[in-house]
């Protein structure tokens, strides 16, 4: 009987997961029919046309409205024999941060400076000519150590880099003492334009992580200079306006053209995470994991957090900061229930609780200092330790001791409940 129930849970979990996966696939395989540009033109469109006419470089988009992502074909005419780059950036802004603790080559010191911006485009990509596919593959092979500014130079795409270059970046000088008391450190004076651009490139890498997210070799340039490019806004991208701009060199740029991406229920946009996801996915995952969590006697966060950052492109800071409050209420109600029957040692709980209060003050500060890879790595080891603890709890020695303990626990609880009842009367 027990086995039956267990297998049922596993089967249900697997089914939910498969349903979720298949809805994802369905979304990808059937791009929703976006209305053609001729049917629904945004109001700003005629105006832009006029400005574009003045610029020497013109681009045409085959559609300007998208429903949860899709592919747009950009065509245009550039001077013959020159590479063409297309910059696509979302108007939606998200937060990006990077902690610089690498040794400075000039001074030999570690700067320990936290760079933070609230104006990073929620999605940003430069489309490079198809001929540069090999160069891009080389960059992809570098693994996590790749440099965005170097990649821009190698691909010649630095001329197209403009949207994130002017974002406002705050710098904080972190100190050991500051980190201990949980402060971000002192705000340093603003950087000049050049420095700002350089740091913004590092933030682009910190935010989008892989070269495939920020580069795509899909601009097909013909010998006579006409070019076509497939610009794909991925499902799960932020809703709102996207600016598309073609760049040949410093002086030859097209006016930005606008594309509107609409995201509808049940896909919702999380403004802080910068991602649109089908809300059924996290809902079912949280449900399954929290049931399992209660059964194994540990909170679900252990399994939920690594899964959330692995399955969806969610920043680890947002995952950590949002999962934590979800257990607040269940813990609160647990304490209330125990306190009703006087089953809490307030002295002990508060004493250790105050130490934990101090720890909880520091921890969230550390979350933004680490990268996603470090987050996953440390979490991996935490899970190994937890698995060890779980295994220890299934050993015969522990079980026997636990049996006695549980019996005493039950006995005491019964007495406590009776005492509480008697008092109530």
């Amino acid at each position: 009987m027990k086995r039956y129930w267990l297998s049922l849970i596993v089967a249900l979990g697997a089914t939910f997961f498969m349903i979720y996966q298949s809805t994802l696939l369905a979304q990808q395989s059937t791009p929703s029919p976006a209305p053609a540009a001729t049917e629904a033109k945004p109001e700003t469109r005629p105006e832009e046309k006029k400005v574009e006419a003045a610029a020497p470089l013109e681009i045409k988009l085959d559609k300007t409205n998208l429903d949860n992502g899709g592919t747009i074909t950009v065509t245009g005419q550039a001077p013959a024999g020159k590479p063409v780059y297309i910059e696509v950036s979302a108007d939606q802004k998200v937060r990006a941060s990077r902690f610089d603790s690498e040794v400075d080559k000039e001074t030999g010191k570690r700067p320990y400076v936290l760079y933070m911006t609230h104006e990073m485009p929620a999605s940003y990509k430069i489309y490079v000519p198809t001929t540069q596919k090999d160069d891009l593959d080389k960059i992809k092979k570098e693994g996590s150590k790749w440099s965005y500014s170097q990649a821009l130079k190698d691909l010649g795409a630095d001329v197209a880099y403009s949207a994130p270059g002017k974002i406002k970046i705050d710098r904080y000088q972190a100190t050991l003492m500051g980190s201990i008391v949980g402060s971000r450190g002192d705000l340093l004076p603003a950087m000049d334009d050049k420095e700002n651009k350089k740091r913004s490139m590092q933030l682009v890498k910190a935010r989008f992580r892989s070269p495939g997210k920020v580069f795509s070799p899909t601009v097909d340039v013909k010998p006579d200079g006409t070019f076509t490019a497939k610009v794909s806004i991925e499902p799960g991208s932020a809703p709102g306006k996207y600016s598309v701009r073609a760049v040949v060199d410093k002086d030859l740029k097209s006016q930005p053209a606008a594309v509107e991406n609409v995201v509808g229920f049940p896909i919702i946009y999380m403004s802080n995470a910068g991602t649109s996801i089908n809300l059924l996915g996290p809902f079912l995952l949280t449900l399954a994991i929290s049931i399992f969590g209660v059964l194994m006697g540990a909170g679900g966060g252990f399994i939920l957090n690594p899964l959330l950052v692995s399955i969806w492109p969610l920043p680890h800071t947002v995952v950590a900061g949002t999962v934590m409050p979800t257990v607040l209420f269940s813990q609160g109600s647990g304490i209330y229930n125990y306190s009703k029957i006087k089953f809490i040692s307030w002295k002990l709980g508060v004493a250790i609780g105050l130490a934990m209060l101090a720890g909880g003050f520091i921890g969230p500060k550390m979350t933004e200092l680490i990268t996603l890879d470090q987050y996953k790595f440390v979490f991996g080891w935490i899970l190994v330790i937890l698995a060890g603890l779980m295994f220890w709890q299934t050993t015969p020695g522990y079980l026997e001791k636990n049996k006695k303990e549980q019996a005493i626990l039950k006995e005491f609880k019964k007495r406590a409940e009776e005492a509480a009842k008697a008092k109530g009367k």
Binding site: A298, A320, A355, P364, A387, M390
Partner: protein, 129 residues
């Protein structure tokens, strides 16, 4: 420190408890989980307290951590309201369904499955496959 609980007195090494709790709180609030599975062994094995003292008191201690961690994450802008509204009902619902299932399956079996699952997940996170 001497703690009195239901007519019995326990001697508690409060320094060890506080240092352990402090470290657990840093890690758990940093990574965004509760910390219960680490606190309970700390208090039973590390401090030598019986289970019936630990169940309620560890929950109270962890609550302090969760409260502070939540406030700080909110302060740093790590809280996404939409995401929370998706997960919160699921977590509450899970809390109601779980006890119904718990009556029917052996906790030993759950722990063994959890153990295997955690190792697989850990291997994945550490990039072993």
């Amino acid at each position: 420190m001497i703690v009195e609980f239901w007519g019995q007195e326990f001697k508690v090494n409060v320094v060890l408890g506080c240092i352990g709790g402090f470290l657990i709180a840093i890690v758990s609030s940093m990574f965004g989980f509760g910390g219960g599975p680490f606190m309970v062994p700390l208090m039973t094995v590390g401090l030598g307290l019986p289970m019936y003292v630990v169940v309620g008191s560890s929950l109270l201690a962890i609550f302090f951590n969760t409260l502070m961690g939540t406030a700080r994450h909110y302060q740093f802008g790590n809280f996404d309201a939409t995401f929370f509204l998706v997960m919160f009902p699921a977590a509450i619902l899970g809390g109601f369904i779980a006890p119904q299932i718990a009556k029917r399956i052996s906790p030993l079996m759950v722990k063994r499955v959890a153990c295997a699952g955690l190792l697989i997940l850990a291997a994945n996170l550490l990039g072993l496959f």
